[in-house]
Symmetry: C2
Subunit: 762 residues, 2 copies
């Protein structure tokens, strides 16, 4: 049923793309593929805009909260390929997170009332900023259910710290950073007493409280400093999303709220539910806070200690003139400061408008003392009209706003309409609308909440995917839709399923700004960034027994674990420190003790510690869980747990029957393999390999492996002298193993050079 | 620097694709994009072959093991988009897996010696088969470290059962199914005593053992039946990957081994490491087992009970003639039966050949009693030459083999060469080779280990990605490379990073074969597939207190939790059952009690149970963790834990001050919204919506929401009669909330119909 017109198009296409000539590697032309897969020309353009060929990189990296998975998701833009799930609040064994002792210490920091919390409800990631620009050094993320903030270091993409909020019982409005990451902002959600005490709901208005915490970030240490952090007491208004001022509004922060009705539900008692009572009034309050002055007041001793934490009480804040309210259309989601710092855009999700509040007008009202009223707690309320720059009708269910690199251009998500609206916040007019699929929550543009948004792409974070993807049961993936915003009209490019977790917000940064490392300095505790006390160097491995404590200082290298046997008795407490001696990029080793719930991931240079209580006698194999080389299955050992007081009976292990012929065969194999290695090395040194840092690294690794041969060679020669053919044959085999690994690395380097077009040198 | 030739190409392209005419929606032409993004014509073709436009589906679904993450990864082919991580051995909060009591029961089944194991080292997934074809009903996956097998139901993609191996201490060669999924095969890895006792390594040869377990699968129950399962004792040879016979070889199974040297390392004592001793000899053994006869022997009472489990001892197996060995090139990985069941392909990773063993020849040797020797345990050894069909030199490090839809065509991964070899196993010749990046382990073709491989795509499961993707720290993603195998020459299409876990093997099935459900029958315990005793219907919610046990039977629906208050005392044990009353696809609700480490995911129809020990007084907010509707933040409640013996003092809650005017405003809002709903319903019923089952479902859901209005309407009218403006206003607000949700669903249906091109009916 092909039309003649289409056939002509086919010929033009095939000729135009020169695919006829390239047909040798594929029988199908582009036109054939488009027809078979039913692709439109728009589809092809979208494919060309998002496809990242092998070996090429993405332009931006997106950091997405994982919602209830408790993790952070990292993906590339525009390919929308997920690169990593970072364990944050939830133990994750692939990373050894929550399994090794070092990361258990990080999780311990997030205990609530002494209770281990093994998950989190992550919502809003924030990248550290310098002068309001993303600097790519740290990532912060909150936990809504168990009010906590985590710090991730973007040098190694590992979680370094978790701090639990000392006064809130839940929080939603975090993490947001000030322009030089002086503070990380965290706003409470469901009001509760600050102290960990029961207070009846009848005393909600008087004794339940909301608030905002300002966590002090010590950039040099790369950690939050809880002692220098403080909170501001606020009314029980269900504080929500927040943002820090910038430029003219620097030093201030803004926090939304909902349920300023202070409604208490009770549907089981015949009362209307929260959803009815919390959305009954037309407006809620935007909290306007002078955090710089608040910090000074805390420094000056004007805070009250609650649960050991500095809290600036409302009364003080009102008296000192650092806290104000502005009515905003009811049940808002985002409070998003414009890149120029002049406006705060608020979208009331049950209203059809976005409201653009002017920081200048707010300040003018404050200076003039022009307030329309006070709230029940005495906080001055600025009239909505006195604070508004403009309001723009966008559609049903506006939620969040992000900014373009073009001046005054903003994008707002419309939840009920399932659309993205592009509009001008200076002039207050709608520019474009695009339908997305389905029920958009947050949205994100590239560095779109910084002072210098990068434009180009927008991602719609849809909350439901319904029928977008192949069905995978009642629990669906989410759908992040990539949209091209470089032109006047938005263009939908790509549907990305989210396979684990329910993301809320994403921040995206130019990939070029990030400079992650690929290995650790040998012997590093990666969670403290300090040398590990359990580190061991090659040849210095040992097992120490003191009382019922067995402590192993071991190492890992392709393809053996030292030690290969660990002996202990029932009742012993076993501690194993393991250092990965590799230098090669990506040469991670894993470690497990079968049946003892032990796992660790040990990247090059890292030292980790695992523990096990040995309460049952038995034989427990251990092995490297990473497919780290051709011989990875043989990277094994045994933990032997003996009954108390066990004494060996005389048993000699059977010996294999190796002969001189076996040994000679090994020598021939070694000579043959050396010839291959020499050939590869010959090629590499014949070209300008020194111009390729990656290859220079590989050569160092290969030399490392060959260096290890020496010792094994001495051993097999010595054994041969004594006609000990067992040891001669096996140590010779070990020499060959090192050769194979060196050859493996050499071949990798050779391929790299050939693909990179290395040139012959004299 | 553009050449004139390229400019001409640009014009031809733009014209050919008709993009000039379509320029209104995008300023950039295809040629512009290719130039800007530096895409070759091959890249564009690959993009066109893999891009799946919005709303379209993938052709195949791939199920990948997650390695040390303990999960299963589901992704679409050819788009390579990950659709789901299924929690299997590792707790995962997004799915509530390991957090609700129902899934905790599943994990309990995987305890080892009474110890909870909170991770797994998943290796080899297998899809259930009927007559050797994938039937898409169940997925099985093993845990190497803690020898276990899990059963996943592909109706809801949930893990239903975990069974721990009663005799092994580790395993690698599982899961593999027989042609009608009678048994799931699981082979041991590191030899150990079957009993949970210490035995010194000096007695390795005599008392350490390997083996193969045949887990009986009860398809009607969808569960493994441990009582009907059995193991076969084998020598301590480090058994490895396995496969079941099919067609002529049905009733037999094949299991590789390595370290048949039975070498015991001890590098810390100066002994050569395992890697040297375990690869010293030229051959290991392929185990050839008549499992059908083994099952009969067990039925006939010839097994020995070890740890309560039937084990067929070697001695019996040898005597009954059901166990044989064939030497195979050393340290092999895969043992892969050809689709016709005639051959078993084995690749010795330290050999450059693949070896094609003939089942017919093996049977001939057995019948003729032609054995070259016996192994140290008395097992007859068939001569390698007597069993070989052919050997083919492929390259360095051959590992695994998969099959094409074309007869005799196979693909083998070459680890050291980092290549895929395409070859003919009938004629024993190489057809093509393709370089991949980097260090390929397993590989998979579509249904490529079934009796009817589907061809089209191959995925190379590369173990290292090194420099393929934007760097994300020392721990790299893996790289699955998609390859087009429909033509004579293989073509690389796509690089897919794996963001979590280290996959080993993948199975891929035609998407059309899978028929997952989208909701549960109301009140289902999804882990048992049976009605939950905790289920509650709308209006029948209750809280029961008996002694110190508080039991809540609650429900969830957009956007409230019933009950909204739970009261208890310090020391109480709280049990909450929650039923999701939604019918709409994707309307999952979550549930958390802040600070108490409680989370649940409740998909439509599901009932889950969570528990908490209330050891501290206080106020604990709870809420729905899914962004389930515009009012999701208001889907909240409070758990109040009172001090023991607490008595209320007289406090009346403050009442909001609603007036008749507020109520009248509500009534107007309701009328306005009803007009919108009527308009939407008018459109829907004006077209042939009944032809779209998805829309019919949506209409049922909307009707459901509107149905709920009745009760709220009665309440606001009754309150208004009594001039109780508080309740009148709030219940009217609740009516409006139902309207908004109904309108939301209605708009979704309308958009669906418009996009689908629904037609007007009379």
């Amino acid at each position: 049923m092909r039309s003649k017109g289409k056939q002509t198009l086919a010929v033009a296409l095939a000729a135009g793309l020169g695919l006829a000539a390239a047909a040798s590697w594929s029988a199908e032309s582009l036109q054939d593929v488009m027809k078979r897969r039913n692709l439109s020309q728009q589809d092809l353009l979208a494919a060309a805009k998002t496809y990242v060929p092998t070996g090429k990189r993405d332009e931006f990296l997106a950091f997405s909260s994982g919602g209830q998975s408790g993790q952070v998701i990292v993906y590339g833009v525009p390919s929308m390929r997920i690169l990593k799930y970072i364990g944050v609040f939830t133990p994750e064994p692939w990373q050894g997170y929550g399994f090794d002792e070092e990361s258990k210490e990080v999780l311990k920091g997030g205990r609530i009332n002494g209770r281990d919390i093994t998950w989190g409800d992550t919502h809003h990631p924030a990248i550290s900023e310098t002068n309001g620009k993303y600097d790519g050094q740290f990532l912060f993320i909150n936990d809504k259910s168990n009010p906590r903030i985590a710090v991730i270091d973007l040098r190694d993409f590992e979680t370094k710290q978790i701090v639990a909020n000392p006064v809130f019982k839940s929080e939603h409005g975090g993490a947001f950073v000030t322009t030089n990451t002086e503070y990380i902002i965290e706003a409470a959600q469901y009001a509760a007493p600050f102290e960990n005490k029961f207070v009846p709901l009848e005393e909600f208005n008087d004794k339940y409280r909301g608030g905002v915490t300002y966590w002090k970030f010590d950039r040099k240490e790369g950690r939050i400093d809880p002692k220098e952090s403080f909170s501001l007491e606020l009314p029980p208004y269900s504080q929500d999303l927040s943002d820090a001022g910038k430029g003219p509004s620097e030093g201030w922060s803004f926090t939304n709220s909902f349920c300023s009705e202070r409604y208490v539900g009770g549907i089981e008692k015949g009362r209307p539910p929260y959803e009815a009572g919390c959305s009954a009034k037309d407006t809620d309050y935007l909290h306007v806070i002078n955090w710089k002055k608040a910090a000074e007041l805390v420094k000056a001793g004007k805070a009250k200690k609650i649960n050991g934490h500095d809290v600036l009480m409302m009364e003080t804040a009102i008296k000192e003139g650092i806290l104000f309210l502005v009515p905003e259309p009811k049940s808002p989601h985002g409070a998003d400061v414009t890149p120029d710092g002049k406006y705060i855009v608020v979208a009331g999700k049950l209203d059809t408008h976005v409201s653009v509040f002017s920081f200048e007008k707010i300040q003018a009202a404050i200076k003039a003392g022009k307030f329309e009223s006070k709230d029940p707690y005495g906080i001055p309320v600025i009239g909505m009209k006195d604070a508004l720059h403009t309001q723009v009708q966008l559609g049903l269910g506006p939620l969040h706003t992000q900014y373009d690199s073009k001046p005054c251009v903003a994008y707002t998500s419309l939840y009920v309409d399932s659309q993205v609206a592009k509009w001008n916040f200076c002039e207050g007019k709608v520019l474009d609308k695009l339908s997305i699929h389905y029920n958009i929550g947050h949205l994100v543009t590239m560095e779109g909440d910084s002072v210098e948004p990068k434009g180009r792409y927008l991602i719609a974070l849809n909350k439901l995917s319904i029928d977008r993807f192949n069905p995978v049961g009642p629990l669906h993936p989410q759908n992040h839709q990539l949209i091209d915003i470089s032109n006047d009209k938005m263009q939908l490019l790509y549907d990305m399923p989210l396979p684990l977790g329910e993301p809320h917000y994403v921040v995206a940064i130019s990939a070029a700004t990030l400079k992650p490392g690929i290995r650790y300095k040998v012997g590093t505790n990666s969670r403290t960034d300090k040398p590990s006390e359990g580190a061991a160097r090659a040849g210095e491995e040992k097992t120490v027994k003191k009382g019922n404590k067995v402590e192993v200082f071991g190492t890992l290298i392709r393809s053996h674990i030292t030690p290969e046997t660990i002996e202990a008795e029932v009742g012993d407490e076993l501690t194993i420190h393991l250092t990965n001696l590799e230098r090669a990029q990506d040469e991670t080793h894993g470690f497990t003790l079968s049946g003892l719930n032990v796992h660790a991931s040990i990247e090059p240079g890292k030292t980790v510690t695992v523990k096990a209580k040995l309460d049952k006698e038995g034989v427990y194999p251990y092995y490297c869980t990473e497919f780290c080389s051709a011989l990875h299955l043989e990277m094994q050992g045994y933990l032997l747990v003996k009954p108390k007081g066990w004494k060996p009976t005389k048993v000699t292990a059977a010996k294999a029957d190796y002969t001189k012929a076996d040994y000679d065969k090994q020598l021939k194999k070694i000579a043959d393999t050396q010839a291959v290695i020499d050939q590869v090395v010959g090629y590499i040194t014949s070209v300008n390999y020194k111009d390729y840092p990656d290859v220079v690294q590989l050569m160092e690794d290969a030399t490392d492996q060959l260096g290890r041969m020496k010792d094994a060679k001495a051993k097999h020669e010595e054994a041969a002298k004594k006609s000990d053919w067992q040891n001669a044959t096996l140590w010779a085999e070990q020499v060959w193993q090192y050769q194979v690994k060196a050859a493996d690395i050499g071949l990798r380097a050779k391929t790299y050079l050939e693909q990179a077009g290395a040139k012959k040198v004299k």
